[in-house]
Symmetry: C2
Subunit: 186 residues, 2 copies
DNA sequence: CACTCACATTGCACGGTGTGCAGAAAATGC
DNA sequence: GCATTTTCTGCACACCGTGCAATGTGAGTG
């Protein structure tokens, strides 16, 4: 597993230095001193080496987070806490240096970031909607509320992230503000 | 341009009949009776032939739609109208038959749909946020409201779409309901 | 040490996507 | 009928991703 992280680090470094274009699987493999074939043993695709994966929550973790909230808590509040913990997980994950590199890469290639987020997000949303359905005792296929709540929560995360990228405000406080808007009504 | 639509139709047909796997550029080209190279003259990528493009609003159209709303209208209401028109454009666009085929394909390959939506959505969101900034006389980089409003609006669209895919309710009324939740507060 | 068993690494061949280039072919204007 | 412009095409190439078989490599065992 250390190997995997090592390759990832080298690949990101390479992409930042010579451009994403130049970071072919061949070049990455050479830089990491492994064969192209071995690269694909560690990563299922070239994209995967630039993914958020190690810094990103999984759908399961997120649902677990939600389960820990008191059932009687207001749903928006539960969602807020969940989103905050997603943001916290993404923001640091304890590997400040490595994460910093990836962030640079994403800043330079926003389309890459979008693609990466898409993966987990879709699954996480579905899982959270189901769980809220259970907690609220409604059927998400019949009641719009759970779906709207979760999607709006992710929208808040996205709005806050975009904002903190341009401005200099703290992500956590932006999320709180976004949720305040949601709770109060736009 | 009729040619382009023709190729698209053939490609979608092929993917539905023989599976998305079998619909290689080679196979599509053969079925459309053109060379592989010519296929890439019409479409920049294989994905593009399965894109929402002809049934989809552009960022510019969406912003134009917003500009037509009275400035004093409540922002949520403006956003609701914009989203409704996006949904309407996506839903029919006058080509019921062709669109029906694409929908089948998307139903069979949800990941395809996600990827397709991502493209325009990112640009449309950015454009709408900027326009709301102007209309409301605030700087979107300093004020979270425009970003939150637009992202929440897209969240409403997504929630409504997911819902209408599983249930049988009318998309437009689902969108209205979603916006009612947003306006009132979750 | 010799042996084997598990496992990571590698080379190779292949099928697929996407692009630049230059020539053929077809449509268009005169 | 001929010239010009546009479209189509073949070809070569770089790149991604995968199956398969061979080759290390290292640990444990007798």
């Amino acid at each position: 597993m250390a190997r995997r992280a090592e390759i990832r680090r080298i690949a990101v470094r390479l992409a930042l230095d010579n451009g994403l274009e130049a970071a072919t699987t061949e070049a990455i493999s050479a830089a990491a001193d492994i064969s192209r074939r071995t690269f694909f043993n560690y990563f299922g695709s070239k994209d995967e080496v630039f993914s958020l994966e190690p810094h990103q929550w999984t759908a399961e973790e997120i649902v677990a987070e939600l389960r820990e909230r008191p059932v009687r808590e207001k749903p928006v509040e539960s969602m807020r806490v969940v989103v905050q913990s997603m943001a916290a997980a993404t923001d640091f994950a304890g590997f400040a240096a490595e994460w910093e590199l990836l962030q640079q890469l994403y800043r330079r290639h926003p389309e890459l970031y979008s693609r990466m987020k898409l993966d987990q997000a879709d699954r996480a949303i579905a899982a959270l909607v189901a769980e809220f359905g259970v907690r609220l005792g409604v059927d998400p296929a019949a009641d719009l509320y759970p779906g709207m709540l979760v999607n709006a929560g992710f929208a808040a995360l996205q709005a806050a992230e975009n904002h903190s990228r341009t401005g200099d405000r703290d992500l956590a406080s932006l999320i709180d503000e976004a949720f305040a808007l949601l709770a109060r009504g736009l």
